[in-house]
């Protein structure tokens, strides 16, 4: 090894295999070639993933351990349209709205990279609007369930953990969406105002906001699968 160190040619060749991967990752200054804010958002989302994972595993645990029958989600979350109950229709629309907002967010990121700040800001506002619509529909869904007598501590349709888990998980997710709407709106305003032009036209903030937004969407997909479809 000591002899290798003396040979400049040996230093020039990058090591291969696992050693190479470790060396790549362990280079000086930075491990990931991304801005600080983006790296931090990734780490935060990893931590947040654990929060939602714990929420969902906790919910699955009480659902399996409770002795009382669990209500059938397709019946609870059915809406009557023209006298015909359609299962999960509201949830389907909500999911569609949220997935669409991810699409507009991706477009905003794209225009951010092109430094087209008006289009980027406009698309961020559209994304925020979709998010607000989602929260609005969630409020409607909550109202409907509360009118039917579902409470966090009681549930006329069966296990009381149904109401508790429902309000807790969708509530926590709804808070995330609401925070995202504010975050997007503030970010869009700053983009529109040209704050980032003064910082050398660096629109990475759009992508960082986007990371958060896509994460919140992804979490919803899991909530949808584990709470409504199970």
């Amino acid at each position: 090894m000591a002899q290798e160190g003396m040979n400049p040619a040996a230093d020039a060749l990058p090591p291969e295999g696992w050693r190479g991967i470790v060396d790549d990752w362990a280079t000086d200054k930075q491990a990931f070639h991304v801005p600080w804010g983006k790296a931090m958002m990734w780490i935060f989302l990893l931590s947040d993933t654990f929060i939602f994972t714990t929420f969902l595993t906790g919910y699955m645990n009480v659902r399996m351990s409770t002795a009382v029958e669990w209500p059938n989600p397709s019946e609870v979350f059915a809406l009557s349209i023209f006298g015909q109950p359609i299962p999960l229709i509201l949830i389907a629309i909500m999911t569609f709205v949220l997935i669409t907002s991810s699409g507009t967010m991706a477009l905003a990121v794209n225009y951010g990279y092109r430094r087209d700040r008006y289009r980027a800001a406009a698309l961020m506002f559209v994304t925020a609007a979709f998010g607000a619509i989602f929260v609005g529909m969630q409020a409607f869904e909550w109202t409907k369930l509360i009118e039917e007598g579902v409470r966090p501590w009681a549930n006329p349709m069966g296990a009381s953990q149904f109401g508790a888990s429902f309000f807790k998980i969708t509530g926590f997710h709804g808070l995330h969406v609401s925070a995202g709407v504010v975050y997007l709106a503030v970010g869009a305003l700053k983009v529109l105002r040209g704050d980032y032009e003064r910082r050398g036209g660096n629109y990475e903030i759009v992508e960082i906001t986007g990371l958060y937004w896509h994460f919140v969407d992804l979490v919803w997909v899991f909530i949808f699968a584990f709470f409504y479809l199970w």
């Binding site: 000086d28 804010g37 929060i51 994972t53 714990t54 409770t66 966090p152 926590f172």
Partner: protein, 587 residues
């Protein structure tokens, strides 16, 4: 903007100039570190006083008229919670993490200083909420530091009105504070190191703090969720953790919840928490031993991988805290196996510490005394861990003083040993003055010997079957009268050790006031924080030019070199490579 702050610069940029921006709402990682340290030690003194009250009750029952079972359980709970979370976690990560990461990595500050400042103030809020729980109706919670439901929120448990709610809220606030700080620490280590500082050249202190912070970011969510669910159970009557049960002769309104779920969530946090406290201690003690034995750390790469392996394994052992809760025997088998596997990387670390000392030029100064003391207490605490990791051995011992002796030895005293070593080691850098040697040595010997006087007899009491968390033992057949004598001895030793901590406080005050002025590198250490242009380092740490790193952190007693240490920022000299073993510093 952040990029400007870290680059080389030849003029001063926005240095804080008023008292408030410099010392109160400071965004400087060094000031934040000291703020964290002062608050953590302050709250730790409260926990120390509580432990003395408990010890006095056990050794000399009915000594104080205000001491009731009600108070006793409140003290047990608050003592445990403060020591584990508000003292050890906050001091290692908020205190030393904040101070050392930027200085050891060659950064000017944390990547997001404003968030770092918020982290401290939110932490302070969590401490205030915790202390406030003593002053609300019913007082602090007495549910034990694990806060197991259902008893934690049922009438009859101390503090079931307000105390438990404030405790849960305080924990949630602490987690928010930790997350803000922790994101900063991880991002700074990953993204803001100076030129030449590869991950595999970082001092082990930074490695320990770094991996511990990642553990925290992944483990605290479980506690956060558990705290939210239990607050809901308590406040609005959900039944996440509450089964249908009979309490005080009446059936509760709850039905169908799972108390075991709380235990799983709590220990999914709780076990990594042990390593959140231990890994920074492992890292820091490696640096202390290497520096003061004037020898490179033995097996640096292995030490790093051991830290990473322990961190990863710590997520799959949590249910060994729940053997007595009852579980599927296969689960017990699984968790016993993973628990014992952790002993392998841990033993590697212990061997490497001892081998670092082997034939070293050992300077038995203050930091070194504490570091070697740590090796003793850690081995003893670790060995009893092997007993408790096995299901069949754990079952009879779990609710006895054996467990108290074990975890105080391994995750109480051992990290505290390192904390004191670290405080004495970095005191000259933080304050610019040397700590008083004589007082420090008295402090060490009283604490070290006192520790054994306290905790060794507890193992014996545990094997006798003396149950823990009891307020009074009364007349019990299986506990001989001599056990009371042992308990009195333990209590006296505890008072002596607590007095020794007053010597420490006096030493800090005296040294701050009249201590010998320290030069910039009194221990002749290699790591970057000792190479700053000013001592204590000024805002921005490095003056106009950032340091550049050319070697690993452990070039002590390099053969052929005149000085017995070469700082990390000294370039490799011509022909130096050929003198070295295995090219360890080349990378």
């Amino acid at each position: 903007m952040a990029y400007v702050a870290i680059a080389d610069r030849d003029h001063h940029l926005h240095d804080p100039d008023t008292f408030i921006t410099k010392y109160i709402w400071s965004q400087d990682h060094k000031v934040i570190a000291i703020q964290y340290g002062v608050v953590a030690i302050g709250v730790g003194l409260i926990a120390l006083a509580l432990s003395l009250l408990m010890r006095l009750q056990i050794g000399f029952p009915d000594l104080f008229s205000f001491m009731t079972p009600y108070n006793y359980y409140q003290y047990v709970t608050t003592h445990g919670m403060i020591m584990v979370i508000y003292l050890l976690t906050a001091l290692f990560l908020g205190g030393f993490g904040n101070y050392l990461i930027p200085l050891m990595c060659g950064a000017r500050d944390m990547v997001f200083p404003y968030m770092n400042m918020l982290s401290f103030w939110v932490y302070l809020l969590s401490v205030i909420v915790l202390i406030a729980s003593f002053f609300v109706p019913g007082g602090a919670t007495g549910a034990g530091w694990t806060l197991y439901p259902p008893q934690a929120i049922l009438d009859g448990t101390p503090g079931s009105d307000w105390g438990i709610v404030l405790m849960l809220v305080s924990l949630a606030i602490f987690i928010v504070a930790f997350t803000m700080g922790g994101l900063n620490y991880v991002t700074t280590v990953l993204q803001a190191r100076c030129r030449g500082m590869t991950l595999m050249r970082m001092p082990l202190s930074v490695w320990g703090i770094f991996v511990a912070t990642i553990l925290g970011l992944l483990a605290f969510p479980a506690l956060f969720v558990a705290a939210i669910m239990m607050t809901l159970d308590r406040m609005i009557g959900t039944s996440f953790f509450m089964p249908a049960l009979l309490a005080l002769g009446e059936t509760t309104d709850t039905t169908g919840g799972s108390p075991i779920l709380f235990q799983h969530l709590f220990w999914f946090f709780g076990h990594p928490e042990v390593y959140i406290v231990a890994l920074p201690a492992f890292g820091i003690v490696s640096d202390l031993l290497s520096t003061h034995a004037r020898k490179n750390i033995f097996g640096y790469r292995m030490m790093v991988w051991a830290i990473v392996a322990i961190g990863a394994l710590s997520f799959v052992v949590w249910a060994h805290h729940m053997y007595v809760s009852g579980m599927n025997p296969y689960f017990g088998f699984f968790f016993a196996t993973t628990t014992l596997i952790i002993a392998v990387p841990t033993a590697i670390k212990v061997y490497n510490w001892v081998l670092t000392l082997w034939r070293g030029d050992i300077h038995l100064n203050l930091p070194m005394l504490w570091a070697t003391g740590f090796i003793f207490t850690f081995i003893h605490g670790g060995l009893t861990g092997l007993f408790l990791g096995n299901v069949t051995v754990d079952l009879p011992l779990s609710d006895t003083y054996f467990v108290i002796g074990h975890f105080h030895m391994v995750m109480g005293v051992s990290p505290v040993m390192v904390l004191f070593g670290a405080i004495y080691h970095w005191f000259p850098k933080i304050t610019g003055r040397m700590p008083n040697d004589v007082l420090g040595k008295i402090h060490f010997w009283m604490t070290f010997l006192g520790t054994y006087a306290i905790y060794l007899p507890m193992h014996y009491l545990g094997i006798l079957g003396m149950p823990r968390r009891y307020y009074d033992y009364g007349q019990t057949d299986f506990i001989p009268d001599s056990a009371l004598g042992v308990n009195q001895g333990i209590t006296i030793a505890a008072i002596v050790v607590a007095t020794a901590q007053l010597i420490f406080l006096f030493n800090v005050a005296l040294s701050l006031w009249k201590g010998k002025r320290a030069d910039s590198n009194p221990w002749r250490a290699t790591t970057l924080e000792w190479q700053t242009p000013d001592t204590p380092p000024k805002h921005g740490n490095w003056g106009p030019k950032l340091p550049e790193v050319h070697r690993w952190a452990y070039d002590y007693s390099v053969p052929g070199d005149e000085a017995d240490f070469i700082p990390q920022n000294h370039p490799i000299k011509p022909g130096e490579e050929s003198l070295r073993v295995a090219g360890a510093s080349r990378k």
